[in-house]
Amino acid sequence: MPDELSCPMPQSLDAECVTLAYGEGGRLSRRLVQERLLPRFGNPELSALGDAAVLTTSGRVAFTTDSYTVTPLFFPGGDIGRLAVYGTVNDLAVSGATPRWLSLSLMIEEGLTWTSLDRVLDSIQVAAKEADVLIVTGDTKVVPRGAVDQLFITTAGIGEFKSAVPDGPAALQPGDVILVSGPIGQHGAAILCAREDLGFEPPPLSDCANLAPAFHHMQCQNLTPRAARDATRGGVAAVLHEWSTVCGLGIDLEEQQLPVGNEVSAVCELLGLDPLFLACEGTFVAACPEDRVNEMLTNLHKFPVTQNACVIGRVVPARPVAVCVRRAAGRMMPLDEPAGSPLPRIC
């Protein structure tokens, strides 16, 4: 449209960003749902707009929930939308369930631009489609400035059990092998660098990805691991400490075998961080009997997200120190349990 024909009225604030009025349940709230959510996520259950989604399941289900808050909303390798879908999908997948349905709650800070919100919603749409899950119920709230940081998302997920499920960490036995499905510490390093504007070039990328297909494939090949967890907050170290506590056994790692990307390794060396403590969002830790591990790795290597899966250690008999790691100089040293978020050192 030529400039002289465009409307001379100044655009209202509502046109640029989300205002409190969109959270008050009236016409604007309905417009938010009708114009922005239904077109992206529409499916019979959601479009019914009932107070609850009505679902038919085939038997036992897995049910999980997680809240997502990340600064910045968009970071190298992902964004809060992808994170909110894959995080919950991965929790279901590593529990042995096939992810089917998600809920989506948006807690929006007034003033968030429509552009940002649309970008996040687009990303959720793409991720949900890729993970083959339906968003069947949800909620939106708009809260005053400062009450949340831009946008918090909560997703809950339901998955169905279709194949053998992991027994869980209590079933671990001495001699079992510990493996990771891909490079470790990517997400933690990416967020730290983006949040603190550390300016590494190229920046480390978040590994934020859908683990369900690779995990499901293992289950279909009768290769269900004894235990599996996605190594989110606290990283691989947190998972292994938890497992050691549950099964009462020790775990030994080999530092030389840890898959660590060049960018993450550089960030860790410069800032004095340990990749074992940094979060992953597209990497799981698994334990399995030694005689199954080669077959398991061969199958994992067929999928791009798990093509770097490898063995990093093994379960050992009970002892006072829970988790140890053989460092570069060849000595087995205790690995501390993560406490608080990793902070960069000074010099």
Partner: protein, 337 residues
């Protein structure tokens, strides 16, 4: 003695200390910038954030260290604007982006970080920023090494000098130290092989009865140091007597802003109350013994009991360069507790 906290961590992390325990005792020195920053400096920073409502920018490692009135992390929880930065010039950018806010850079550390603080001050001057100032407590390593060497009860027989500090300062200053006190000094890096090389150098000198400075980290360190960084330092800061946590005032042990740059001194700008002579806690007394190498972290009665990384009583347990944190993390502290 390994002077630098980064060396302490890697000596323990890789089990080198343990492997050598039959023949070499490693004493860990005061090279943890956060640990040697007096509590009073942290208290002043907290006061600036809470009472004067400034935006306080500082290094992440500084946030968890307790002063007398809590830590900066707690200050943030109480509504203070505390921002983590990695490089001091980021604080200048903050001040540029938020002209309505007073931004104070809490600048601590050795000669490694001081040149970037100097650069930040020069950038602020260049941009005529009136909302940027510095609460600086930069310390100098060589005078502290001198204090340790002159201690009548001294047990250390050689220094692994801090590779990163020497990258900036060079090591010509250390030559007179080695000579005056008949102590071998090896400029040492941080990777396991660097550390082993530095130790070997020290042991060989002791066996041969020599006491000189040897550069075992030549891929990073030159005798004259980094002249660009030293010029920046010289322009903005002057050496002066300064307090170290655990040591007290060390002659020429730190830097102060030169008169020309006093307008960027946060203490002048905000008239912060000087927290002087706050009573030393029981922990401070022990921390001092650890920082000066008189006591091993695990010999401290608070270690792993009242003092853990989750509930630290002193800075050496908090910092990622602190000796107590290293012992706790890498020697099975949690399991031994």
């Amino acid at each position: 003695m390994d002077v630098c906290g980064g060396q302490t961590h890697n000596l323990l992390r890789h089990g080198i200390e343990n492997a050598l325990s039959d023949c070499i005792e490693l004493i860990h020195g005061p090279g943890c910038p956060v640990c040697v920053t007096p509590a009073a400096v942290i208290d002043r920073a907290i006061e600036l954030a809470l009472t004067h409502k400034v935006t306080l920018a500082t290094f992440g490692d500084m946030l968890r260290v307790p002063g007398q009135s809590g830590s900066l992390l707690q200050t943030r929880a109480r509504g203070g604007a505390v921002r983590t930065i990695y490089c001091p010039t980021q604080a200048v950018q903050l001040a540029q982006r938020h002209p309505d806010q007073q931004v104070v850079l809490l600048a601590i550390g050795f000669e490694t970080t001081a040149p970037s603080t100097a650069l930040a001050v020069l950038q602020a001057e260049d941009q005529r920023l009136t909302n940027f100032s510095v609460l600086a407590h930069h310390v100098r390593v060589e005078p502290a090494m001198r204090v340790l060497a002159a201690d009548p009860g001294r047990r250390l027989q050689g220094f692994l000098a801090a590779g990163h500090v020497c990258t900036v300062t060079g090591y010509h200053e250390l030559e007179s130290l080695a000579q005056d006190f008949k102590l071998p000094v090896t400029v040492t890096g941080f990777e396991p092989l660097d550390l082993a090389d530095g130790l070997l150098g020290c042991v060989q000198q002791l066996e041969q009865g020599r006491a000189v400075v040897e550069n075992c980290y030549p891929r990073s360190v030159r005798r004259e140091g980094n002249s660009a960084a030293l010029r920046l330092l010289e322009r903005v800061f002057a050496p002066d007597d300064l307090a170290w946590r655990g040591f007290g005032v060390i002659p020429q042990g730190g830097f102060v802003l030169r008169q020309k740059y006093e307008m960027y001194d946060a203490e002048r700008r905000f008239d912060a109350v000087k927290h002087s002579g706050s009573p030393e806690s029981r922990a401070d007394h022990h921390c001092a013994a650890v920082l000066s190498g008189r006591m091993k972290p695990c010999a401290c009665p608070l270690f792993g009991q009242a003092c853990t990384p989750d509930f630290p009583q002193g800075a050496p347990m908090v910092s990622s360069e602190g000796a107590c944190a290293a012992y706790f993390r890498y020697t099975g502290g949690p399991a031994l507790r």
